[in-house]
């Protein structure tokens, strides 16, 4: 019997995933074998893993490389997004320790789950085969279901986890069905090959199976990025999940969803661009409007930020609708800056919250500015960035998204986006009004600013202000990372 020829395997594109998986498994074992007093090391170990994975990313910039028979790729696009994921997870880990100690949860499984979720996100970003993308999506989603319901003693956390699971499974069905229909129409799941097949056989683009396949996949991805009307899970899940997990969920998986969605739409379905652009137009308007309008009436700050994250996904969809280089570069820039500003805001919420997820109302921030001026200032910076005011990164991101839309001719979309942005200023500034212009009711003395949280806030502030003032560097990276 002759030996089967083994093809040469290039591990470089999935090196970060491999490293993170190894670290995650090691953490699992360490968690089980090490007694509880030394559990803090788990957090440090996971951060080390993130840094090591980050190092492997740097070398690949500008050198596209595909492996595993074209099912994963390492290009600027995936490297940019992997960087976003690493930053997101790192910042979430920094703020989790304090929170979970306060809530008295067993921290052991948190870090492996986070790392596995990151692996899933990275696969979504670098996957060029529908199956790989789906694989990443599922790995991510399962980890997220558990993370959302991590605080087993809290009823709301359980509710969040269960709702996320049920609705996530439901939407995965749509996604998979869409992938199956696309496979049925084109005979391949490789993203590049789908486009090739369509360009060779023009009739396929008219085939209803093909179009519906694309639409259903769009629905599946829209669930992940929380675009209306598939956003219904977001408020309950974000409000119930533990705050550091909400921070993570609002930034990382959303970016991963965009990454996968963009890759599929731009590379696999350029023939249907008119269709998915129109669809995204409607989604963008609905998402922005619903997110902003309902957020106006919220009192729970976590729920408010949940609706705000829906709205921000809407703004990113504006850039996606444009589909040109500026728009997509804008999405990349926006995802990064959104990670900074949102996780920064959640870090402050972690500090201000009390045991049992109490003290999360906007009213509870009254007088925060006088008691803790520096932290209130950081919160103010994040809120300004979320509202899109210069000179923060949020403004630059929105500017690029909307200018990309205008360049592509979607002027009304940009106008709606700007109006929504203006309306959103209300609920962001409401927090600031409470922080600075109301008299303090409490002493805020339970707040412990551990070094980890402080580092996270500093990173977030720098990440919000620096690109706002000198956006050139990041914008350059984003423009180089665009798929087109």
């Amino acid at each position: 019997m002759e030996t089967i020829a083994i093809p040469a395997i290039n591990f470089a594109p999935i090196m970060p995933e491999v490293i993170l998986s190894i670290f995650a498994m090691v953490l699992l074992l360490v968690n089980v074998f090490v007694p509880s007093e030394h559990k803090a090391y788990l957090g440090y170990l996971s951060l080390v893993g993130l840094i090591v994975a980050g190092f492997t990313l740097i070398g690949g910039w500008g050198v596209p490389l595909s492996a595993f028979n074209d099912s994963v790729v390492r290009d600027n696009f995936s490297i940019f997004f992997k960087g976003i994921f690493l930053l997101t997870v790192g910042m979430s880990i920094l703020i989790s320790d304090q929170y979970f100690k306060r809530e008295e949860c067993n921290l052991g499984e948190l870090y492996p789950l986070l790392l596995f979720a990151t692996v899933g996100m990275m696969l979504m970003a670098s996957g060029t085969d529908l199956m790989t993308i789906f694989l990443g999506l599922e790995v991510l989603s399962v980890s997220l279901y558990i993370l959302a319901g991590f605080n087993r003693a809290n009823v709301k956390s359980n509710e969040a986890g269960l709702k996320y699971f049920l609705l996530g499974a439901f939407s995965t069905g749509f996604l998979l069905y869409g992938m199956a229909l696309t496979y049925g129409a084109t005979g391949t799941t490789r993203v590049v090959k789908i486009a090739e097949y369509v360009s060779q056989n023009g009739v396929v683009a008219q085939n209803p199976m093909f179009v519906i396949g694309m639409l259903l996949m769009a629905v599946g991805f829209s669930f992940k990025i929380a675009a209306a009307p598939f956003h219904m899970w977001t408020p309950d899940v974000y409000e119930g999940a533990p705050t550091p997990m909400t921070a993570f969920m609002s930034a990382g998986p959303k970016a991963a969803g965009f990454a996968a969605f963009m890759r599929v739409a731009i590379i696999a379905f350029p023939s249907l661009k008119a269709d998915w652009s129109d669809l995204l137009w409607i989604l963008a308007v609905l998402t922005m409007t619903i997110g902003n309008l309902i957020a106006l009436n919220q009192d729970n700050i976590k729920r408010m930020l949940a609706y705000s994250s829906i709205a921000h996904a809407g703004y990113a969809l504006v850039g996606f609708t444009a589909g040109n280089a500026e728009g997509t570069a804008g999405i990349l820039f926006y995802m990064l800056s959104y990670a900074f500003m949102n996780i920064g805001a959640f870090a402050i919420i972690v500090l201000v919250g009390k045991k049992g997820e109490a003290n999360n109302n906007v009213m509870d921030y009254a007088g925060f500015g006088t008691k803790h001026p520096v932290l209130a200032l950081a919160m103010a910076v994040f809120l300004f960035s979320l509202a899109g005011m210069p000179p923060t990164a949020g403004f630059i991101g929105k500017f690029y998204l909307f200018s990309g839309a205008i360049k592509a001719g979607y002027v009304w979309l940009a106008i709606i986006g700007v109006l929504n942005s203006a309306a959103s200023v209300y609920y962001y500034l409401r927090v600031m009004v409470y922080m600075y212009m109301k008299d303090p009711v409490e002493e805020f003395d339970w707040m412990k600013l551990t070094p980890a949280v402080a580092i996270c806030i500093i990173i977030a502030v720098v990440g919000v202000l620096l690109p706002g003032v000198v956006p050139a560097f990041l914008l350059n990276l984003a423009q180089q990372a665009v798929l087109l």
């Binding site: 019997m1 083994i6 699992l28 074992l29 968690n31 089980v32 074998f33």
Partner: protein, 118 residues
């Protein structure tokens, strides 16, 4: 091309008809003489205690889930073992990595006490 599926369609039809017929005929032809004792739920001769809606112990679910995982592992081991000789060293390493990954999970589950029945 779809003609090959015709036997399956016939089989499905027969199954459905069989099931339906059983139910329909038994309700049409069978005697109906209900009494209190006959309609009571059967609990091995004793009086029923407690609500019928008992909560399932989650350990069944955990065991079932773990069974699925390791069963799939076994399923993957089968084809590999068939081609084992032809895959050479690479095959050994590859399968070794696969088993190690699942072994980590096994150790975790064991140490966490999920395999305890009580």
């Amino acid at each position: 091309m779809l003609g090959a599926y015709l036997p399956i369609l016939v089989l499905v039809a027969i199954a459905v008809i069989f099931g339906l017929c059983s139910l329909v005929f038994s309700s049409l032809i069978g005697q109906k003489k209900p009494s209190v004792v006959k309609l009571a739920p059967y609990e091995c001769g004793c009086e029923p205690v407690g609500s019928a809606r008992e909560r399932f112990s989650v350990k069944f679910y955990i065991i079932a889930m773990l069974f699925i995982l390791f069963d799939i592992e076994a399923v993957f081991l089968y084809p590999w073992s068939v081609l084992f000789k032809r895959l050479g060293m690479f095959g050994v390493m590859e399968m070794g990595v696969f088993i190690v990954i699942l072994f980590v999970g096994y150790i975790y589950v064991w140490k966490k006490g999920a395999l305890e029945w009580e």
